[in-house]
Symmetry: C2
Subunit: 568 residues, 2 copies
């Protein structure tokens, strides 16, 4: 069976778990009616199933290549991108003034995730454009907006983000690319950038790079960084394509997966660029783009999880093996069920968390309420790290469900596993996400976390009559998490927080997942969703106990062992 | 820094954690003195570092290929195999009567693991031969032994095992290969086998296949299966090579990793074979080979973990990034330390468990004591599944430590991850291992498990004075595991055990790991091993709580959801 975008699951989530009701009451999103959202999901799902999923294998088998300085993309990718562009899916949440649909991020997240499950490597292209669109909307001059946004939203042009340099990965502040003022409103940008996703392609008329660089005399570190828009071709005022700019692709990386997405080393030689945001205000602008992209990358993980789950489920339904009851297929084996239900339950949890993050973004956009802003900020690293960890774990389990066939490339299960692996690394490694969660996102003394847990516990109380055991398990887990949160907040030495950041983030996601499943169970009493919730709460939620022990261990044990002892 | 076989770790384990003393007191292994074992580890380690590790990348970059029916192996593999053969490492534990060294499996396991860390795909070749040697030693006629064993032990010939057919993977009993009696002591074997590791090569004079097939009129299922030895070339009585036999390589698989190991589809067309063991006694003989191979595959996982850990450690020591204290390298970051210490601590735990399994095999060999036999049987699935899961998780973390570089193939970190992935699948998937543990290995009512836990708790009591917290944590975890074991044993419906088999196996390994680390701490008070034990017991051991909740959930929740609901 081919890929089927999880349209029903999103409809259920919007109806019962992470509702759109509050959003629809705002002026900003009043038009996102039930009819509209259902139609959009159906339409986007159709494209995913019919156009994108069929080219997924092409990306792996026929990777993007660099020929004479030109990037040739995988067969069918140009058509796939055209379908995404024509559907309006790039600019779903973009400003209607420039051709966008002005829809909530909740819907964009849903569609992005569905596209990721269909063809992860291709979906990364519009995701990069979306980040650029949002950065330009917030930080660019009106002239730049008027010139670039319509082209990016229509998909005639694509966007990239250029942060990393060989000596500056997670530590963006160490970058050495330079920019100098030409005195005519333009700058000349020089330097080398690595790991540039979709650094070039052969289907867009222009490729627009957002490049972090340092102006003369700028201070060291992130403070001294400015952001520049550097197009491959210099546009004329009417938006037509002008001269070739001083930017080129040096090479493409040979990667473990995601072969359909060209990962470029880019060279800028006195390339003409335009400042976006104020001088030395590059990081703020970049963070706009990164926050968007982090949620998007979380969605990539979840999409890959959905695709891998469906493939494994199909195999388990068809593969006859052993003394299985019922259908005689391996799905009747307890351990295969354990794997499939784990995959399904975690995918649902990660999806609900990501939508919850998107909801907070939308509510903040619509109302300006800072509590929603704080929630979005708090949930972003969780959505990114848990979404991608889930993608990796689910794809890995998908390989296992296939047995020996899983290790054979022709099956396609291994591709999901190889492709999704990078999502835990790019847009800030999952370790960076966890550090962000326990440091920056707890500068409020744990308030945003506490409000989330209040909500979890209030709902658990309301669910006690219907599901006493499940409600109690979620409530208890939330209390344990609250204690751990208070412990973290009380640590003056940030390193004591960092030492347990990754297990803490995962425990938070586990508890939120329990909350989401409990909500689903309440909306489907006696149905499949209640049963899935039981599986999750009974079997997966208890993982938080070990994680929280790990999270509150402090950094002593990490540094007790000396480097010499490690090397010995 | 290149790969350094973990010779010191093995010496420490043999001295303090999984001692060789009892073995040395037996007549069988009296010669395995301290001097001998140290010399062997040093010598084997040297070969791993200098000969095998340098060809590891070749396997990935220049996979084995099938050309005109002939398998061409990766550059340097022939020389690597020759070094293994010349060192005597294939027949380390084989009968000295046929050229073996008669050494304990503990040493063979150590050397196998060291070779796996150096070059996993090549090491699989001698591992296959070792399994065949053991099967022939136990089940073949004297004539076959005299003819084949010297050649296999010397490495002039290699061995394979042929179980799987397209419709018969984990369910071996479904196989359809046929054998008919020629009436002259030989049989003609026909059928197709898939996933045959090292099904052919260009460095051995002969390749000997152990093939499961069914004689005419044999009952269905595993009961009706016989085992045949089918060489590529029919040997003359003097051991020289005779006529080509009716066996050929149809194709090689295109795999996610382990490209250096040719995984063949084999075709048998009235190939001449010799019966090994009695007619319809094939499964018993095959189990000899499989038990050996399962421990060996566990060692492959641990070796890959060691290799991946070393590569990640080197990177973390060299890579400058962020505001790191001390050396300025990323190893100073808490989360990188968390990853490296997790990798190191789990590798040690898995290694100690595998050696403990080998010890039980050796003690049973030397004394015939059935308690040791039961222990070996109980520990084999744990050593296999936890060793390979650790290999996969550690290699995965190794990729993460490398950040963006981890996803780039040139780095080599991704290769570890891709190569080791199959170890959780072949020689019985890890799900099969777990089912074996909770069913066959608990037919004794949990006695073997209970004796292990008695030992864990007795040692914890002895460690209480020195390390009250650590000892108590291990003791408590053991008690929880004992309760879970009793719960499993009490389940009349095996499916209730299977439903939690994988988490139970992992919890058992977690607790045994705590035991091994506590022993290490006792032998190195105040030293690096005590510190590593603290890390493990404080941060990783608590994982057992969630696992044991999962293990005791029964199968109700797994089957509450119908297949229709899953597909919907």
């Amino acid at each position: 069976m081919p890929y089927r975008a999880a349209v029903d699951d999103f409809n259920f989530l919007f109806d019962h778990v992470v509702g759109l009701d509050a959003l629809r009451k705002t002026e900003r999103f009043a038009e996102a009616s039930d009819d509209v959202t259902r139609a959009i999901l159906t339409e986007a799902g159709k494209m995913c199933d019919e156009v994108l999923a069929p080219v997924q294998r092409n990306g792996d088998l026929h990777p993007a290549v660099l020929e004479n300085g030109i990037v040739r993309t995988s067969p069918g990718f140009a058509e796939g991108f055209a379908a995404i562009a024509e559907g309006g899916w790039i600019g779903m949440s973009a400003d209607p003034e420039y051709g966008g649909m002005g829809l909530p991020m909740m819907l964009t997240s849903a569609v992005n995730e569905m596209m990721s499950g269909a063809c992860l490597s291709l979906q990364l292209a519009p995701l990069m454009s979306q980040g650029q669109i949002e950065a330009l909307e917030h930080h660019a001059s009106d002239a730049i907006k008027a010139l670039y946004l319509p082209k990016l939203i229509s998909g005639e042009w694509t966007g990239t983000m250029n942060l990393t340099e060989p000596q500056a990965g997670s530590d963006v502040g160490a970058l050495s690319s330079k920019a100098e003022d030409n005195g005519d409103g333009t700058y000349r940008v020089s330097g080398q950038k690595i790991y540039i996703s979709w650094g070039d392609n052969d289907f867009a008329q222009n490729v627009c790079h957002l490049v972090l660089a340092r102006l003369p005399g700028a201070p060291e570190g992130t403070k001294g960084i400015s952001l520049f828009l550097v197009p491959k071709f210099l546009p004329n005022e009417d938006g037509s394509i002008g001269a070739r700019n001083g930017v080129s692709v040096v090479s493409l990386e040979h990667k473990m997966g995601l072969h359909g997405s060209p990962t470029a080393m880019m060279q800028y030689d006195n390339a003409t660029g335009w400042l976006v945001g104020p001088e030395q205000g590059g990081m703020a602008a970049m963070f706009t783009m990164m926050n968007n992209a982090r949620l998007g990358v979380g969605g990539q993980g979840i999409g890959a999880a959905e695709g891998a789950y469906q493939m494994a489920l199909d195999y388990a339904l068809e593969r006859k093996q052993g003394r299985a009851e019922g259908t005689g297929a391996i799905i009747e084996h307890a351990d295969v069920r354990r794997m499939l239900l784990t995959m399904k339950a975690d995918t649902f949890a990660a999806r609900a968390i990501a939508l919850s993050c998107a909801q907070a973004i939308d509510m903040n956009t619509a109302t300006g309420d800072t509590e929603w802003k704080a929630r979005a900020a708090f949930l972003t690293p969780i959505a990114k790290a848990f979404g991608t960890d889930t993608g990796i774990a689910v794809a890995e389990m998908g390989v296992q469900v296939h047995g020996g066939m899983g290790f054979i490339e022709e099956t396609g299960a291994a591709q999901f596993s190889r492709d999704v692996r990078v999502t835990a690394i790019y847009e800030g490694t999952n370790g960076i996400q966890a550090m962000d969660l326990v440091a920056r996102k707890m500068m409020d003394g744990g308030e945003a976390a506490g409000r989330l847990l209040d909500e979890v516990e209030t709902h658990a109380e309301a669910a006690r009559d219907a599901f006493p055991n499940m409600a109690d398990a979620v409530w208890q887990a939330s209390e344990s998490l609250r204690e751990a949160t208070e412990w973290l907040v009380a640590q003056g030495d940030l390193n004591d927080r960092f030492a347990g950041a990754v297990p803490y983030l995962r425990a938070f996601a586990r508890v939120l997942g329990g909350h989401m499943h409990l909500k689903a169970a309440m909306a489907d009493k006696g149905g499949a969703r209640e049963k899935l919730a039981r599986f999750y709460i009974q079997r997966l939620l208890p993982e938080h106990v070990g994680l929280l022990a790990h999270a509150q261990a402090g950094d002593d044990a990490l540094y007790a062992i000396t480097v010499d002892e490690l090397v010995a």
